[in-house]
Symmetry: C2
Subunit: 200 residues, 2 copies
Amino acid sequence: MQERAARTRERLVRAAAEAFDEHGLGAASMQAVSKSAGVSKGALYFHFPSKEHLADAVRGACGDRFAAKASDLMEAGESPVQVLMRLPGLTAEWLGQDVIVRVGLRLGREQQRGGHQDCDGRYLSRELHDLLSRLLRGAAERREIRDGLPLRTCASLLVAFLFSLECRAEESASREELLESIAELWSLLLPGMAPVADRE
Amino acid sequence: MQERAARTRERLVRAAAEAFDEHGLGAASMQAVSKSAGVSKGALYFHFPSKEHLADAVRGACGDRFAAKASDLMEAGESPVQVLMRLPGLTAEWLGQDVIVRVGLRLGREQQRGGHQDCDGRYLSRELHDLLSRLLRGAAERREIRDGLPLRTCASLLVAFLFSLECRAEESASREELLESIAELWSLLLPGMAPVADRE
């Protein structure tokens, strides 16, 4: 994609996230998105033929945020289990500051399966599940977690937990309450995840 | 409610669940629901002014199923933690046999928050969260789980897990695969849930 087109697309995705954040997916208008992005309606419809395509792009940008952050942390030398354990806390921070993550997680949580969409869509829950599964496999290879840990079920629980953070933030939980839940999550899960040697 | 009206309502809810199961919420028609329930269109609209009201009734009937089963098991003498541990397995069975639970969980998982609905609606996730929290509190009082277990976070993880069972069943996971996931769930959670004496 040409650089200019990529910038336009990015502006539209952010404007859409802001509109969905303020008005909800149902009430936000395509007109308001093109206006607040400073992009013509023709250019908007060229990039995104429908609101569902915009919603999909916001979910995708949110998934990319998680994947990029995990990759950065790995490159900075953190181990897979360290990265895994940082993701819920990062999510809590992002929910307060980053409209792409906040709205992306909300749309991902509400994402309908089945034939109600007019575009194929990126399944944010599946992307997060894949990311967490990769980290868990890395942790298993380094023996940072116990042998035989059920990786898929563990990844599912963690993904569900990330979505529940967004849900609670939307119900006005404070950052401190979210951080407390995260500490509680690990107090619940770590005894079942730790290598056997660590438990003795 | 008169008994006859209650029976009509029940027939409509079941017919709606079957229509949503077969065609999806978007494509199912009110006409088809009234026809398959053998109820006039006028009577349908008297009970349920919109498809969203029907969806809400299916979610509600699903929540009632869980609450009634938990109550039956308690009355039959099972302890709160026993009931709690049976709910995922019961869900796996119901998903194969009971269109109300299958569609109720699906609609509950996809339930949107915020202003997109034309009726207030019952939040299935909240009802299940309340039910599991009550069971966890009962288990804590009997010291079946460890002191200081974070009950709310534990209930959230379990609710998320019940929804994930529906999601995997919809993606064609077999009953055996669901039961395997349930065994994995407990292998992950029980070490963090058990009273300290049990771990030694």
